[in-house]
Symmetry: C2
């Protein structure tokens, strides 16, 4: 269910502006408003989940779908040749700044190691 | 199918040593041999996939399962409180050093942004 105080739920509902690059029945992909690379997208479920830890066994098909959408939008944005990184932060201590599960897709520049 | 020249397939087959922290019918989690944080694990499918781009629609449940295994082992290793980051590198340009799909699970220290 949408949560009225969740900025990603409000964005998905069209109540806040977003640069949407992909959507289907279950998933939305937008450009990150604070990009860390030439291509920096966020893939999220339309349904609200606080974080990865909020997903149960029955959510595995949706979770896999989200990751495949990440792969799809990465390739659609030209990252198939150069490669790309998908990142999920779980918990504020890991940098999760919005409590609505989302996958970062980063590419278009050299990506260093470790990943933060 | 296992690929004889894939070090992760050989590791899963028991032909190479590994520090296995979890396994089930479809997934294996090991400690990264070159850890970048106090906890640094790798989750991979037992079946060989070159990369995330190698997964199709029908693989979505498996892919979601792998990400949930990442969440599970992160929590089992005490990262539930401090948070953790899961990372998939696709392509050598993004730092994918073994061509067998794997998810990095990193935590136990401060994680900076951007993620590499």
């Amino acid at each position: 269910m949408a949560e009225t105080d969740c900025i990603f739920c409000r964005l998905i509902a069209g109540e806040l502006p977003a640069d949407v690059v992909y959507q289907d029945a279950a998933a939305v992909a937008i450009r990150d408003s604070n990009p860390q690379a030439p291509v920096h997208l966020l893939v999220m479920p339309k349904e609200h989940y606080d974080s990865l830890d909020d997903m149960g066994k029955r959510d595995e098909p949706l979770l896999g779908h989200l990751v495949r959408v990440a792969s799809r939008v990465a390739n659609e944005h030209g990252l198939g040749e150069t490669g790309y990184r998908t990142v999920i932060n779980t918990g504020s201590g890991a940098g999760q700044s919005v409590a609505h599960l989302h996958i970062h897709v980063v590419g278009g520049r050299e990506l260093t190691w470790p990943p933060g």
